[in-house]
Structure formats: C-alpha cells, structure tokens
Symmetry: D2
Subunit: 265 residues, 4 copies
C-alpha cells in the first residue's frame, strides 16, 4: 500500500484528500442546450481535437447537486464530506475517429470535488452554485410538472458568471445530445521549472457506469453569460437556445483510460 | 406604505432585508427527541415560563433544509435567496395555562433566515449545517426505508457543536411531541443605552398554517453535544434518547400574536 | 443579571450572540467620497430627517477591516470571533437642529457584526467584502505612499454590488466630511402581527469614543455601482467623485442615546 | 504560447486558474516550533526520505495570512483574487545528502492557493484559518511587544483541527530552524486507471527568492491538536513545546527543480 490514493500520503492513508474510487453519485441535474456562435467551440479545442460535424457549436450548460461517497460510505454519515454542487459547460469534439463530450469550464463548491475533478481532467475552479429544487411538498418551489420554473446561478470571485431559467413543458425520452458521449479530457500539470512545459500532459477518457436515470422533464430555457476578467464565457455565449431538461441521476465512477501521453498530447 | 417590511427602508421597499409575510416553506426535517438531565429545561426558561408537567426535560434536536419564498415567488428563480439549512433545539414550556414549544438554541446559514428568525423570536446565530439527503436515485445515500441511516452536524465559530445519527426502523403516524405545540418566543432588543434594560421585550406566539406533512420515517437516533466557550449545549446533553423521525414538510408563516410586552415580559 | 446581553438568554449569559458593550475596534478604513445625483440622498431620508444644506447629496462609500473585542478580550484569542469586514454607504442628514451622519446601506461578513449593527441601528446584511491591504513588507501590495493603488469590492446574493479603486496622492489632515458626525439611525422591528406597524421604532444616536486615527493617505478614487434586484444602489450612483482616503482607526463603542420612540419615530 | 499556465487552457490563457510564475507574496506568519513523539516525523516520510539527525521530531506549526499576486499585479486591485490564509505543519527530512524542510499537512482558503500548492507539491486541502492580527492602532488586539498574545485556529469539515496561542517575550535574530531549509515535496497524480500507480510522481525542491523578513517577535506557545476521521494530526501532537515567533515576510516564488521522477520517486 502506498499510503492513500492522493496527498497527503501517510502510512494509514486516512488523511488522503480523496479516497480511492469507485465513487458513487446520486443527484439532480439541470441541463440547458444551446448553440454558440459559429467557431466558438472549435476555438476551445486544442489540436488534434476537432469539432464534430453535426452542430459543431452545440453547448450544454449543466447545474448539478450531488451526494457522493466512496465504497466505505462513511461520507454519507458526515455529509459535509458528501454533498456539493457544480456548474459546467460541456461541448463535443472529435478524436481518434469518434465523438466525445468534453467539459471546458466548471465550478464546484468543495475541495474533494475540485480535486476529484482534476484527477479526472475537469478544469475545476471553486464557485458558488445555486439551483432551484422542485417542491416535493408544500408550495415553496416548482412542481415537477408542466409550468414548473427553475432558476440556476454560478458565481466566482465575487461576480455572477451565469444565470439560467428553465420551464417544464413535458416529459420526454432520452433528451440531450451534447453531454451524451464518454468524456475526453486533458490532465496536465506544468513542470515545477515553470519553463513552459508540462510534467503531466495526458488525454484521458472516462464514462460513468451503473447509470440510473429518472424521468426527464423537458422545456424551454434561457441562459445569461456575464463578463469576468478571469473567465472567457463570452466565447460560449448563446446564439440560439435549443432547450433544457431536469432529471435525477445516479452513477458510479470506477476508472478512466489513458489515450495519449506526452508533452503536447 | 412605509418603505419595506424591514431595514433598510426605502421608497420602493425593494432593498428590505425581508419581504413582508406570508412566507412559504418546503423542505425536509430530521427530528431527534430525547430527555436531558432533570431540571435542564427548567434552567433555560425565564419566569413566568415554567416546565411542563409531563416529561419536562424532553428536547427535540432538529435539522432542516428549506426552500422558502414570499408571495412574489421571486426568490425561487434566484435560489441563493430561497435556500438555507438550520439546526435547532426545541423544548416545551407552560405559559398562560397551556403548553407551548420553544426554540432555545438555533443556527442557520443565511441572513434572510437569521433575521426572519429574529423577527419571530428565534435566537438565531449563523452556523454551518449539514444533513444527509435520502437517495431518490442511485446508491449515494440512504433509502427512505428500514435501515436507511442519516447523519447531521452543526458547527459555528470553527467548532463542531452537535452531531446526530438516525436509522429508519419504519413508518408511523404523527410522531413527535416536543415540537408539536405553537411556538412561544421572546423578542428582545437591548436599549441603545446598554443600561441593562430592553427597548423591545415581548412574549409572542406563532403557529404555522397550511401545514403539509409527508410520510414520517421513524427510527433510532444518537446525538453528540460538544463544548464551546460561546454555547451552553452541555446543559441540554442527552440523558436518555427517545427516537427520531424524518419527513418532508410544507407550511406557511403568516403572522404571530403578541402575548405580553414590557421590560421583563 | 438578566442572562446575557442578547439572545439566547441563559442563566450564565455565556451563549448570548453578543457580549455587553463596551466594544473595542482596531482596523483599517478606505473612505471614498462623492456626490450622487441631486435629490438622491433626500429620497432615502424618512421624515422628519431632512437633507443637509451644504452638498446635500454627498455620500461616503466605506470599506473597513476590523478586529473587535469586548471587555474580556476573549475574542482576540479565538479570532474567528473577532475579525470581520464591512462595506457601507454613509450620508448626512438634518434632525433636531443639527447635522448627523447616517448609514443607509451596509454589508458585513459575520453574525456578531450583523446583529451588533442591528442593535446600533445599522441596516446590515451579509455580504462578501474585500479590500486591498497595504504591503508592509515585500512587493505584493501597494505601499502607503504616493502612487499606492487599492481595490475594494462588495458582493451579496452571488452578485458584485460595488467596486472601488483608490490611488494615494499624499497625506492630509482630517480628510472627510460625510462620515464625520455622530450617527443617527432608526432601530426597528415590525410587529409580529405583520400588520404594517412596528413594535420597535426608535431614532437613536451614537458616537465613538477613545478614537485613535492614524495618518490619512488621501487620493483619487473611482466607484462602480451595479444593479441588483434586492438592492437600490443605483439611487446612490456617483455623479461626481470627490476623492478618497485610507487610514488606520481605533475606537470604542460604549452606548448610544434614544432620541425618539414611537410607531413612526 | 500554449493557452495559459494551468487549466482551463484557452487561446488567450485568460481563464487559467493560475497565472504563470513569478508569484509575489507579502504577509504575516506565526510559527510555533515543538517536538512530536519519537519517531512521529519518520513515520510520515516516504523512503528514501529519512529523518534528520538532530532533533528529528521537530515540527513547525505555521499560520500565515497573505496577499499574493502575479507579475501583472492585477490581483491586487481585485483582492478577492489576492488574499488568503493558510495553516501548515512543516518537518525536516534528509535526501540526497542534505537537509530539507517539508510540508506534511496544510489547509488554505482559496482555490488559487490550493492549486498553486498542488503545483508546488504542497498537499493542500481547504480549511477555515484564523489568526489574531496585531493592533497597529487602538486596543482591539495585541501589541507587537512583550506580553502581546495571539490566537490561531484551523478547521475543516466542520471540525476544529488545531488551535494555538502565542505570547511575545521579546525580539530575536533569525529564530526558527524547522522551516529554514529549501522545501522538498512530492508532486503526484494517480493514473486515471486507478490501478494503484501514479501518472505523475516526482520529488521537487523549491526555495523562495527575494526574501524580506521583518523583526521577529519570539515567545512562548501552546498548541492543541484535535481528532478528525479524515486527518492524522494525532501523529504530530506536541510532546515538548520549543517556542514561537511572529513576523512579517515578503518573498517571490519563481520556479522549483525536479530532483527525481518515476513511479515511486
């Protein structure tokens, strides 16, 4: 045993910022799909990644609220360690002859989630994420039914970055095409020499397993994207809204696969 | 119009920290009932409030996660303004010939909730509250079924104050007797002269209306109470656990009633 | 003894959200003075408060970072209880034949400060406040010298509300006239009946004692004010900048004085 | 240009979670030195790192409050991006024939600092850090003089992890020997296959440059270490206190050096 999955590594491994996978997730996702300006997605894809042929500028803006645990399940009894929210922008790309989904910007609100993401290749930053919950009782929230309206926001650095609104029009089978492929991410860490090279530079893929999907409530959505000196969300501002959907999701992350390694992938 | 329900008051009233009631709540509550040491509850009741005759030292430790809005519903579309969590300790007392519930300690995690509580007579402080959510999909959480186990914690001032664990043994009709009465609270504000007197010193009561209760999942519970130089939770440490229950709750707060006013109530 | 200065009141008084005054403050203040549009300040003054004759629309936007303790000094050894930041907008008004300073909007980042403010009549909300610190060593910060440039921001509800910039041009004697008078505030609490009346409605004044002022570094300033559905800062947007100053300040709050009481003051 | 120093990488590099070094720091440090139980430090050193010969179980518990910027200095004008606090435990080790300092546990309160640390090999987690500031004016704080007493705490996961107290007895030349060497850290990232191997596993060293040290106020210190299911601080609990010191520090981080690479260093 090498003393824990991640740092700080100790004899027992107990202090590791992350337990080893598998990691189990149960939560709620609001997905808003739209098309950005022509070429917007391509401008965010490093070669040899290329845009997909069909609707190359499609983007999914996703808000999610999760409960997450490792095999021990211990996090569930101390829920400060299990619960977090995130907001991410997902696009599609072409690599090695197939289509992939790829997260280009993402904010989360816990260190475990932040670093779990860095392990998986998500470019996670910390942010403040809020999304309306459906009212399962009482009147302080939308019903999961036609007309139910949800809001969602993300902020970082004392600035609101995005806000969305979604209104249910009905239920539908398997909605969503942007976040529907296995994920393709870069994992990278610059050399400590800070000389322009990377000590870790990989292209990795990963797919969820044991996926459980609740009913999908589809509808119309709006998305506002605001300027920030430390973000580039203008690049992915909506040019044409496609729609949105809300549903409960459960899944397991077990491992990914290294597709390429090397200084420039 | 006087410029908003609460400060800061302006012509439009828009900046008021609180909108006027009614306030609508939808959420989830974990209630843990137990008996503290003999005389513990009485020691927290200012005269003329007196302990109840039956099980006078019964306490309810409650964790709740809410979505809350005013009549406009605008908070629901900007959920940073609608969602919060709280943890509170409730006891019973006798006043004017009847039994009341009374919150003696409470922590919340938003300013709207904090000050709404001060308006209602809850002695709210800010804290960090966490409670396990049931897994409605996937495996990262307890099921709402026999054996489902939940954790809950509250911290303030960089210290954990309480932690609880609850395991479902079944469903039951109307469980809980400690938090079952209308609330009886003091509202108070010391004189600006800081001379030992209060400018506001009232006894008020309030009851929820439009109450909707989901199924009650009952079970066994434990509660740990930790020392803090700015709290007095030792006073209410459990001597004998009674049990716990989890359920969804919806209700409306419309108004309360002033029962007594004056320098010492 | 009545069990603590503020709620929750107990036999020992230890759990009180606030210790009794006196309260001691040591900190750093950035003050930016400007004039808002004609009539802006008057529109925020409830009768019988009236605008002052000279420069009636002058406003001070203030950022401050404090360490604060009570007579015991215990907070200083557990600094989570002693340190906080705040941002406030101060105007002047005329009442009972003299001029006063008055805080019309304010955000702080601790519950002790929030409720201490409510006791004093400040309309405090929670917010996220940041202000550049001078570099007393090294190069990561402005020097307290000509050319030193400071930034300051305040956010609430996941939105940036204001941002300021200040550049030192020199030192000066007693700069600042807006926040230079004793404070005049309303203290108010609506009736629990939520019937449009207040149970507490007072006009109070207070002045700091034992004031210590460090050297005042004066200079030029800019201030940006952003829209929010729960604020009214547009009302006080700058029409003409006057200047700014930064200095260290120490003072004591001992008590205030009640100038008027009653349903409408 | 490869699109930014760290992820997310874009054409402009503007969205990068970190700007490229150099990074400039100005701040205040409280250092408490003590000896842990015999063998405690050795148990935290992965081979081939070995304990030092002289006082092998010496530890430095450090609290620091920083303002930090990159070459552009832009962070200083938007201080939410520049300011953070941290608490760390530093030990010494022997490697390649010389002595090094090494951080074994550390908590910070911003994502930029967290990930900057991961780049440098610090095993950073998020935490809530507080340290008393000296009172440069007024009375709400210790003076930088004999008898001045400071407190410091760190919490994570809603639990207090450590608390310290330090009282100045005088000034002294170059105090402190534990954190006095260049740093020796592991940088690591598990393989995405989660197969027990690391994709990045390096031993790196780094030293600060342009170090500026203010006067060192030395004195006596205490340190309390508390249990947590996700930490192993008991391992480094104090057996014998050595003393403490407080001073202002400025420095620059430019780059480090890779000393070894490979699956097990």
């Amino acid at each position: 045993m090498r003393g824990g999955f991640l740092f700080p590594r100790t004899e027992s491994g107990r202090a590791s910022l992350l337990p080893a996978p598998p990691w189990f997730y149960s939560g709620e996702m609001l997905t808003i799909e739209y098309e950005a300006a022509p070429g917007a997605v391509a401008s965010l894809l490093p070669p040899p990644l290329a845009p997909v042929a069909d609707r190359p500028d499609a983007v999914a803006a996703i808000w999610a609220e999760w409960q997450c645990c490792s095999a021990s399940g211990g996090e569930l009894l101390d829920p400060v360690r299990a619960q977090y929210k995130e907001c991410l922008l997902v696009v599609r790309c072409r690599y090695q002859g197939r289509d992939w989904s790829r997260c280009v910007f993402i904010w989360v609100d816990s260190d475990a989630s932040l670093v779990r993401g860095h392990f998986q290749g998500y470019p996670k930053k910390l942010g403040e994420i809020w999304m309306t919950r459906p009212a399962l009782i009482g009147t302080a929230g939308p019903k999961l039914a036609r007309g139910g309206t949800f809001g969602a926001t993300v902020a970082a650095g004392s600035r609101r970055l995005m806000e969305a609104r979604f209104t249910i029009s009905g239920e539908a089978e398997s909605p969503g095409f942007v976040n529907a492929h296995p994920m393709l991410h870069h994992r990278l860490m610059p050399r400590i020499e800070a000389d322009g090279g990377d000590a870790l530079h990989e292209i990795v893929s990963a797919a969820s397993s044991d996926v459980e999907l609740g009913p999908a409530y589809v509808g119309d959505a709006t998305l506002g994207v605001f300027a920030s000196p430390t973000e580039e969300l203008e690049t992915l501002a909506p040019a044409r809204m496609l729609g949105g959907f809300w549903r409960r999701v459960g899944f397991t992350f077990r491992r990914g696969r290294t597709l390429a390694t090397g200084a420039q992938g």
